[in-house]
Amino acid sequence: MNSLSLTLFDCVVLVTLLGLAWQLLATPDLFKAMVLFMSFGLVMALAWVRLAAPDVALAEAALGAGLTGPLFLSALHRLRGTRKGERRQQLDSIEHRGKIEKVTQRTSGRIIYLLLRILFAGLLLTLLVHLATILLHVEYENPGLGVFVAEQQEESGVISPVTAVLLNFRGYDTLLEIMVLFVAVVAVWSLATVRFSEKSGQVSPIQQGVVRILAPLMILVAVSLIWQGTHLAGGAFQGGAVLAAAGVLMMVSELPWLRLIPSLPVRLMLVFGPLVFLGLGVSCLADGRFLEYPGELAGFLILLIELACGLSIGLTLACLFVGGRPVDDLVDRGQLEEGS
């Protein structure tokens, strides 16, 4: 692949990215926007591959497009009530146009509105140009922290540099990031009513059949992704995302045992990953500092953390998709009867 075709590829990627983004934000129809959003995520993953960032590409594909898309779709579905016909309704545009009409009845209103938009656009453009000129400066000669990572790579106990940074050099960041995920699921549970997965009863037998084949496969892929995280592209987040996709698939096809799962095991699994990471970090305090894995054990400990977090992340993302809480203590049961 000589450089010409590569640059051509870059242009195509960039143009589609910007075009998709523009179209995605401009279109009044929400459903169309969401489809564009998912394709935007996939093209972005392509860009990451082009920029030699395989881990990020995997994460973007699995999380960015693979999970955020369905999240949006289920939100849209819930927002618009269940009737199919409404999905095409330009909810966004009606509301938006309504506002503009109110303002621009009088010609003066219209001029002011126009002026405001021009001013706003002008301001943003100058800011964009200014930042772009800063980018134009010849790259500062600093090679970033890559050099340091290369030097201390072998002490980190893993081969893949990204995993080394993520879980060893800057493991504290990842710990806090997993806590962010945990807080997200707690927040979603605090808001939602008791509804782990409604029983809509419209699941066709074909889907159930396919799920029975596909789900174990996806779980296998997820575990392998987590496993290879230490030396190739992959890791807890990417593996967790695939696991979540498997979980979502199972929930959407309403497997009976899944709907009535009590809340304690789910909560245990959610807390398992963060607790293991935190516990291992604290246990390192015995003869060193927080999160300072003892020499040769580093590789093994990192793998342990990856597995535990991968599982928890998978369940967390699945719970985020479902949006409801599992049925558990009496109070919830009481609420369930009232159907609130």
Partner: protein, 108 residues
Amino acid sequence: MTVLFAYKLGGLCLFFMGFTALILRSHPLKKIMAVNVMAAGVFLLFIAMACHGRVGVAIDPVPQAMVLTGIVVSVSVTALALVLACRIQETSGGAGSSEGEHPPQGDS
């Protein structure tokens, strides 16, 4: 060299496109999408910087780790925002249209 600059410029454009959409669009779902586009723009900037001049050779893993963290954080925040938007719609039926302060019924 200019290819990386093109990617960075693309990232900046995404950032500002998302920013304008966030300000102008009124529907909550559109706003959340705009935020995601902005985040994608910033991540593009980070990864383009990670190559340090030679396209296709990633010598600096730290920005990649940062972007990974960023992606996970933005997914969790998007999920929370979507559930919030749905709850607002269900309880008051007035998603995004800010009809000002509700009279405070009951407690707060």
